[in-house]
Symmetry: D2
Subunit: 374 residues, 4 copies
Amino acid sequence: MTGRMQRIGILTGGGDCPGLNAVIRAVVRTLGGGSCEVVGIRNGFGGLISQEYVTLDQAAVSGILPRGGTILGSSNRDDPFDFEGTVGDSALNGDVSALVLENTRRAGLDGVVVIGGDGTQFIAHRLSERAYQEGGAFRVVGVPKTIDNDLQATDRTFGFDTAVGICSEAIDRLHTTAESHHRVMWVEVMGRHAGWIALHSGLAAGGDVILIPEIPFRVASVAGAIEDRRRRGKGFSIVVVAEGAIPEGGDPVYLLATDGTRRKSLGGIARIVAEEVERLTGLESRTTILGHVQRGGTPSAFDRVLATRFGVCAAQQVLAGSWNTMAALRGPSVVPVPLVSAVGSQRLVDPLGELVGVARATGVRFGDELGPTD
Amino acid sequence: MTGRMQRIGILTGGGDCPGLNAVIRAVVRTLGGGSCEVVGIRNGFGGLISQEYVTLDQAAVSGILPRGGTILGSSNRDDPFDFEGTVGDSALNGDVSALVLENTRRAGLDGVVVIGGDGTQFIAHRLSERAYQEGGAFRVVGVPKTIDNDLQATDRTFGFDTAVGICSEAIDRLHTTAESHHRVMWVEVMGRHAGWIALHSGLAAGGDVILIPEIPFRVASVAGAIEDRRRRGKGFSIVVVAEGAIPEGGDPVYLLATDGTRRKSLGGIARIVAEEVERLTGLESRTTILGHVQRGGTPSAFDRVLATRFGVCAAQQVLAGSWNTMAALRGPSVVPVPLVSAVGSQRLVDPLGELVGVARATGVRFGDELGPTD
Amino acid sequence: MTGRMQRIGILTGGGDCPGLNAVIRAVVRTLGGGSCEVVGIRNGFGGLISQEYVTLDQAAVSGILPRGGTILGSSNRDDPFDFEGTVGDSALNGDVSALVLENTRRAGLDGVVVIGGDGTQFIAHRLSERAYQEGGAFRVVGVPKTIDNDLQATDRTFGFDTAVGICSEAIDRLHTTAESHHRVMWVEVMGRHAGWIALHSGLAAGGDVILIPEIPFRVASVAGAIEDRRRRGKGFSIVVVAEGAIPEGGDPVYLLATDGTRRKSLGGIARIVAEEVERLTGLESRTTILGHVQRGGTPSAFDRVLATRFGVCAAQQVLAGSWNTMAALRGPSVVPVPLVSAVGSQRLVDPLGELVGVARATGVRFGDELGPTD
Amino acid sequence: MTGRMQRIGILTGGGDCPGLNAVIRAVVRTLGGGSCEVVGIRNGFGGLISQEYVTLDQAAVSGILPRGGTILGSSNRDDPFDFEGTVGDSALNGDVSALVLENTRRAGLDGVVVIGGDGTQFIAHRLSERAYQEGGAFRVVGVPKTIDNDLQATDRTFGFDTAVGICSEAIDRLHTTAESHHRVMWVEVMGRHAGWIALHSGLAAGGDVILIPEIPFRVASVAGAIEDRRRRGKGFSIVVVAEGAIPEGGDPVYLLATDGTRRKSLGGIARIVAEEVERLTGLESRTTILGHVQRGGTPSAFDRVLATRFGVCAAQQVLAGSWNTMAALRGPSVVPVPLVSAVGSQRLVDPLGELVGVARATGVRFGDELGPTD
């Protein structure tokens, strides 16, 4: 560290995720001891385009630990390499990455802590590369963020535990009605590509059938599972559906109905499959779509601790000058890993892995089981 | 009371509602002291058709106070005056009320505690009248049940507080995302005819716009409210929609879209209106449909106390021989009211009442406000 | 209303209570429409002594609805008629009410919304009287506040529902351990003079014994209740104790132990009685003291709605010039009542009232029952 | 596996821990597919002394996943090597392990799944050794259980996440009051030897001072931390205290008060230290003792999943004949480890480890810091 006080930017990009404020607080608390000045960048990379900054001193992060959302704001439309928007009076269009690098320099930022998912980290990486090619520098330390917990680079991401908790609580509530009123309850949860939320919350709350993107399902098999239960005297079932669940040979958007028509999945695959299964089994069904309730609000204790550890680790990389790294949970420890290795490598549910095996051992069906007539 | 021990039946009818088990427990605990034997009737009036009973002693109700659902089961297809179903080997069809009265006599039931909504209580009333005309008796004490809190006869019904709590918590969670990510969050809650759940949870969790059946809305006015907020620097809004909310001049099922087409409200009016408003304002929206999560699971402390008071009151009417009464909350007291007066009289939100006034005073819009161009 | 914009102060006094921020928000939203300027007074009447004010515009109350505590701060040592403290460099002592009236005038306050309990409202009343005698005015509108729900003047106070919910949840958790591990679980809850929290949470969560100030208990009777349960095969019991519960002939602080000694209740009457009963029954006991957990944190939906209604009502009295009134819940409506009538009249649990009767009907013991040997 | 159906016992020993029922359910569901009969043993090893068994078929474990406690009951006074109790009419005393082995044989148990902590697993191990010496067999598969998460053998134990969640929620609630009312809030949490619960919940909820057994504290240092905060304008502090926290040079039970007296820690070290610190700082304090609320009630989603994985793993060891093993979480996987290696090796908080470092980086004090005058 030099005698000059460093100026470090921090931004949050992409969708909401409980724990973002805990990361921000940990970074500010760790860096703010005297050697650094922390500058909050508003609304993801958008704030580096429009030059919207906010000073983050200790007072600014007081009381934010239990709060959902991000005090910095976020944006999904802030890719500097493919931008379309207005800044001040000017309409900007296309690649504005040069402007971002220029603004970063102008703001005197010695480095930026980037909290975000795959897309956000990839942008940071590209900015870093472009700056390098031009003889400058865009120094980054990353903090991974995905509600879906589907990054290869880290065993866990914050936000996931909160989402699973919310879904489990909802399924618990559906359970009592299902049982008393002999109904099939469907609940659609997040997970476009990875079924972790559905799998964990289904296991936690006793889902009878769990449909995830990694295990294509057949409607007849789902209906069979529900009828099997009825034959054993259970007139109700709980079906947990990841939003990205797909029928065998199908695709995530269209579903081949058993009557031969192709139907678009508007507002949820769960609703369509529920209808088909209701027709096949004659059992009444009800559908819940939790939506963004899963990614807002106060984080669980687990996520607050993990997010705080990520924030401290990122700040320590800044202090050590270990740029182009990202905080990651590996076994029991939070450690820095190379940022570039972290991008683009998704961790999906292994259909033959322990967790699916645990689910099957306890009687969960995934809709891929062969029936007596198959 | 005669020397003979009385036999009292108890049944739960209609949709799920947190607190049903608390009522059952209170009735059994109050009656079970020695003077009465309590017989649980399975699945609403259906159990009086199929003669499915279960003995309810103290052990049977142990530990059920915090549980959602009903240990007796319920049914929505059990109207003895318009029945269609199979009992044993026989298919039954049409009016089977004579069979119900016969089975009641055969089971030796001196009276029945009927926990249920309007429909269920009306059936009890008709059975009572038919028995009377035939020189017999179907003695009833009612306990009101509606998640919607829309009965004229009682200030509050159990289950409502739980539902409002669940919706408020969901809206709290949506709030943080809305604020950080500059989005319009829509949440559809229960309430086909009455907007109480939407109004209370919207007030409790700071909804910006609340749409209820009692105040028909205009899409342009809703969009206007959201744009007003944007102009005041609030890029986000929370819209709470009762499932029965209707557009001005519209009806609860069809909505006249602003492009002139009529669109059926499948899976929620919220989604349709959200889409229209998104088109008008250009602001991204996300929709949550809480569905049956609102009516299952453990009851709130408030609902457990109210349900217990209703159960004790009903049991006391049984002991006093005050048949054809129903437990009701009037001011601070739970008192018996005539059953017949309780049926068929709905309590709706008064558009000019205190609660709507409170909401408007704190800035809530209902979508009926005139805009600058009206 | 005159042409001049009114300046209205607002303060919160006494102990914490979930819903204070909801009241503040409702007052500011209702008054802030243009006709009034709202001035927050810091730390109760203390802020009128030290002249600490904060401007409350719409932005200041944004997002505070779900938050516990009070953004204005509070104080328990701020009685202007009996003050001891330091303001700036001067030590103040004794009656500083003249200073308070002077500061109120200096701050240009046309009236003050006082949110607080009995003590706080009484101070407001005395200030008002003193000002009147001196030919001036201290205009007040009150909002009642007590976690204990023990005011004669209003059917309910905000905060109480939250407290009962927290206690019920704790008792629910203790229940499963008690049952599995055959223990007697004691939980001490708030309520120095009134047993409402103990009674409601005990009813809600299935307490077996409830000890409240209004029904003095005998240790032998409590032990008897627990032994009765054991004889009926229930090796566990839950005892809910209001902190102000007193033994027959005893006083709230000292308890005559069965070994003849008098023991001071340090850190809870529950612990002392638990020890005595453990000695008498030989059954292991565990004690939980919830303490201030009961009065902090996010308010329940019920309390947020009630607090908002109180706030709007108070603001409307300000606008109408109806000073010396207080918002109160009467039956289904929030209405203004005279402030003076509201002070000093406590509502206690009626040992012969409906709620105690409901508890006894469902098997709850209050420790006043006569045993077989009495 | 032979043609004969195996008979497998299952018992739960020691204190309560959320997730016990999830383990039982997973074992029964996995084993119950046809090859095994599962026999529940009541009240830990006590049930093998008194021969109290219950058949565990699929119906017996239906609906128990979300429930706290254990459907089998537990006991803390059931050590067969040092027993004192009554069975039937006979008083038993001393070493009854021979009887336990005899009863196990008589009950036809081919093996026992033992869910319990260190003490319980050690008893199982000794029974196994004694049986071996006598030419017989007491076949065991263990499932670790400790709320404190302090086993060397497994990265996590179920119940811990729930406990941390409950403590964090309580601290969140205390936070708002502390802040509004300028108080020092003390909360005592579980952890006699290990400070994991205090450390995690303190980190999660923003505790300012955390006192744990692994880092002896000085009262003056704690007071100093609180005064430092006051000097920086924070008139409140949150102190999280593990029940086993000890003063420097002190012992867990006695605390040397600053006035020279030695005071016994009755009902909590927190209360004593709070009093001392109040005297030193003049700041009002309030103490909460959460007690058994931490170890009862519904498990968190995380704990339900972990407990289910443990149960399935244990059942698979039974099916594989891998006796004397225990399920353990190692990195991302649940795997069997040797039972004997698992016993007696405690995992404590490392005062120089990552987590304490994270806490210090974010400003947490542990009471071991040297003050300006040290």
